[in-house]
C-alpha cells in the first residue's frame, strides 16, 4: 500500500515536471537552433578553411595567424576605436549634462525627455541617409545641396564650407558625430533614471555645508552615480565598436578604405566566400569586446566595495 502510494506520488511529480518543461520548450528550441548552435559553429568554423560549399578543410590556427598580420583588419579596429572614443566623450558628456539639467525642478521636463529619445528610435539607415543629405557637399546651380554647408554659406562662414563626407580626414569624425546624435538619448534616459534614485536630502546636506553646484556634482552626484555611469560607458563601447549600418548609408561608396570597421571586414570576408576567416575575425573581435566590458565591470565592482 505504502509503496503504491509512493509510486503514484512519484508519477505525479514526474508528470508535473514534464508538463512544466513544456513551457520552456519553444524558447529552448529556438534558442538552441539560432543562438547556441551557431555560437559553437563560430569557433569550429574559425579553425577551418571553407568557401560556403564543398569540404571544410581543418587548418588549425592559420586563420588567426593570417588575421594578426592583416593590416586592414587592425586599421578597421583603429577606426572603430576612434569612433568609440568620440562617442564616449561627446555622447556621454552631453547625455550626462542633459540628465543633470532635467533632474532639477524645471518646466517641460517631460517634453525634453520625449524629444531626446526620438533619434534612438530611428533606424541607422534612416539616420545615415538623412545626415548624408545634411552633410552633402555637392552643389546645384551654384547652391550648396547639403543643409550644413548651406547654413554656413548663409550665416557668413563660407570659408568653413567643406566636403565633409568625401574627405578622408573628416569622414570618420562625421560618422562619430552622427552616431553620437543617434545614441545620446539612451545614455540620457539611463542616467536620468539613475539620478532620480539619489536621495534629495544629500543635496540639502551639501548645500547646508556650503557646497556650490559644481562641488555638489563632483562630490555627491558623480560618486553616487559611478555604477550607472559604468553601465552607460560599457553600453557605449559595445554599441560604437559594432557600428556598421550607419556607415554605408551615410558615406556612399568611394571612401570604403577609410571607413572600414570590424563588422564591414567580417561582411567583406563573408561575401568573398572566406567563411572560416570571417568567423576567425568574429571570434577575435567578440573576445576583445568581452574582455573590455568584463574588465570595466570588475573595475566598477571593486570601486563599489572600496
Amino acid at each position: 500500500m505504502f509503496l503504491k502510494a509512493q509510486i503514484r506520488r512519484l508519477n505525479i511529480k514526474s508528470f508535473d515536471a514534464l508538463r512544466n518543461c513544456l513551457f520552456i520548450i519553444p524558447a529552448v528550441v529556438i534558442f538552441s537552433i539560432f543562438y547556441i548552435y551557431p555560437f559553437f559553429d563560430l569557433f569550429s568554423l574559425s579553425l577551418h578553411q571553407w568557401q560556403g560549399i564543398g569540404p571544410k578543410i581543418f587548418i588549425g590556427f592559420r586563420n588567426f595567424q593570417e588575421l594578426f598580420a592583416d593590416k586592414v583588419w587592425w586599421m578597421s579596429m583603429g577606426h572603430a576605436g576612434y569612433i568609440t572614443l568620440i562617442a564616449l566623450t561627446l555622447q556621454n558628456v552631453l547625455a550626462f549634462s542633459l540628465a543633470l539639467a532635467c533632474d532639477r525642478e524645471i518646466r517641460m521636463k517631460r517634453f525634453y525627455r520625449l524629444v531626446f529619445f526620438i533619434p534612438p528610435v530611428l533606424s541607422e539607415v534612416v539616420v545615415g541617409i538623412l545626415w548624408n543629405w545634411i552633410l552633402n557637399s555637392g552643389t546645384h546651380n551654384g547652391q550648396q545641396l547639403g543643409l550644413f554647408n548651406n547654413f554656413l554659406m548663409h550665416t557668413g562662414f563660407p570659408q568653413l564650407v567643406h566636403n565633409w563626407l568625401s574627405d578622408p580626414k573628416t569622414v570618420l569624425t562625421c560618422i562619430a558625430v552622427v552616431h553620437s546624435w543617434k545614441g545620446f538619448g539612451w545614455g540620457f534616459i539611463i542616467l536620468l533614471a539613475g539620478l532620480q534614485t539619489i536621495d534629495r536630502q544629500l543635496y540639502e546636506a551639501a548645500r547646508v555645508d556650503g557646497a556650490g553646484s559644481w562641488n555638489t556634482c563632483r562630490h555627491v552626484t558623480i560618486p553616487l552615480m559611478m555604477p550607472v555611469i559604468m553601465v552607460v560607458v560599457i553600453l557605449t563601447i559595445l554599441g560604437s565598436m559594432q557600428v556598421f549600418v550607419l556607415i554605408p548609408s551615410l558615406v556612399n561608396q568611394g571612401l570604403v578604405y577609410h571607413t572600414e570597421v570590424p563588422v564591414t571586414r567580417i561582411l567583406a570576408s563573408m561575401s568573398g566566400f572566406q567563411f572560416g576567416y570571417a568567423c576567425a575575425q568574429a571570434v577575435v573581435f567578440g573576445s576583445i569586446l568581452v574582455a573590455v566590458s568584463f574588465t570595466l565591470k570588475s573595475f566598477s565592482n571593486r570601486m563599489k566595495q572600496a
Binding site: C21, I24, I118, Q143, A193, I266, A282, G286
Partner: protein, 281 residues
Amino acid sequence: MVVNQYLIQRFLKNTLTHIFLLIITISCLFPIFWMIRVSFMSNATVFADQSLIPVELNWHNYVVVWTKGNFGVYFINSMIYTISAVTGIVLISSLAAFAFSRLQFPGKNAIFYVFVAAMMIPLPGSFVPLFVRMNELHLVNTRLGYILCMINVGLSLSIFLLKTFFDKMPADLENAARIDGCSPVQIWWYIALPLAAPALAVIVIYNALNVWNEYILAALLFSDNSLMPLQPGLMVFNGAYQVDYPVLMAGLTMTAIPIIIVYLFMQKYIIKDLFSGAVVG
C-alpha cells in the same frame, strides 16, 4: 535684497538650462522636420521655396516611392515581420519566464543562466554561422526564417525582464486560482499575463523597434525584393535615387513615421520601466 539676488540667480540658471536644452531639442527635431518638409516638395521647388512650411503639399513623391520604389511591398513585409516576431516573442518568452519563475522542473536555474549569459555576451559577427545554418535549413529567402531569427534575437532580454516581474507577483492570487482548479497554463493565460501588462508593454515596444529597424540579417537573408522589409529596401532605393532628395526623403519619412508614432504612444512605459530595470540590474 538677499532674497532678490537669490531669485535673480535662480532665474538666470533656469534660463541658461532651458537654452541649452532647447538647442539640443532643435538639433534633434530639425533634421526630422526638414526631412518631412522636403518630402512634400518637387525637385524644382526644393531650392526655390524658402518658406518653413511648404506652400503646397505635393503627394507625388509618396506615389513614386510606393509604386516605383517598391515601398508598398517593403512596407507590408515590415508590418508582417514586426507583428509576427513581436507576437512570437511575447508568447514564447512569457511562457518560459512564467515557468522559470513559478514552476519546478530539473535544470531550471542552469537553463535560465544560459539565457542571461547570452544577453550579456556580445556576439558581433554571429550572423556568419547563423547564415550558414539558415542556408542548411533552407530558410534563406523565406519569411519564416527571418521571423524565427528575430524571435531569437528578442528572446533572452524579454525572458529576463518578465521573470523579474513574475518574481514580484504575489503568490496568493496564483494559489487561489490553483485551489479553484486552474492548470498552470490557465494561470499563465488568465492571471500572469494580464498582471504583467506593463512589463509586456516594454517588451512589445522594445522588440517592435528592434525588428522594424533591423538591417544586417534582413539584408543577408533576403535577395528576393518581394520579401524584403523596409530597411534593406531603403538601401536599394538609396542606390537608385541617389540625388533625387525629395523622393528619397519621402522614403525615409515612410520608414520612420510608423515607429515614431508607436514610440509616442508607448513612451511612458519605456521611460518608467525599462530603465528602472536597467539601473537596478
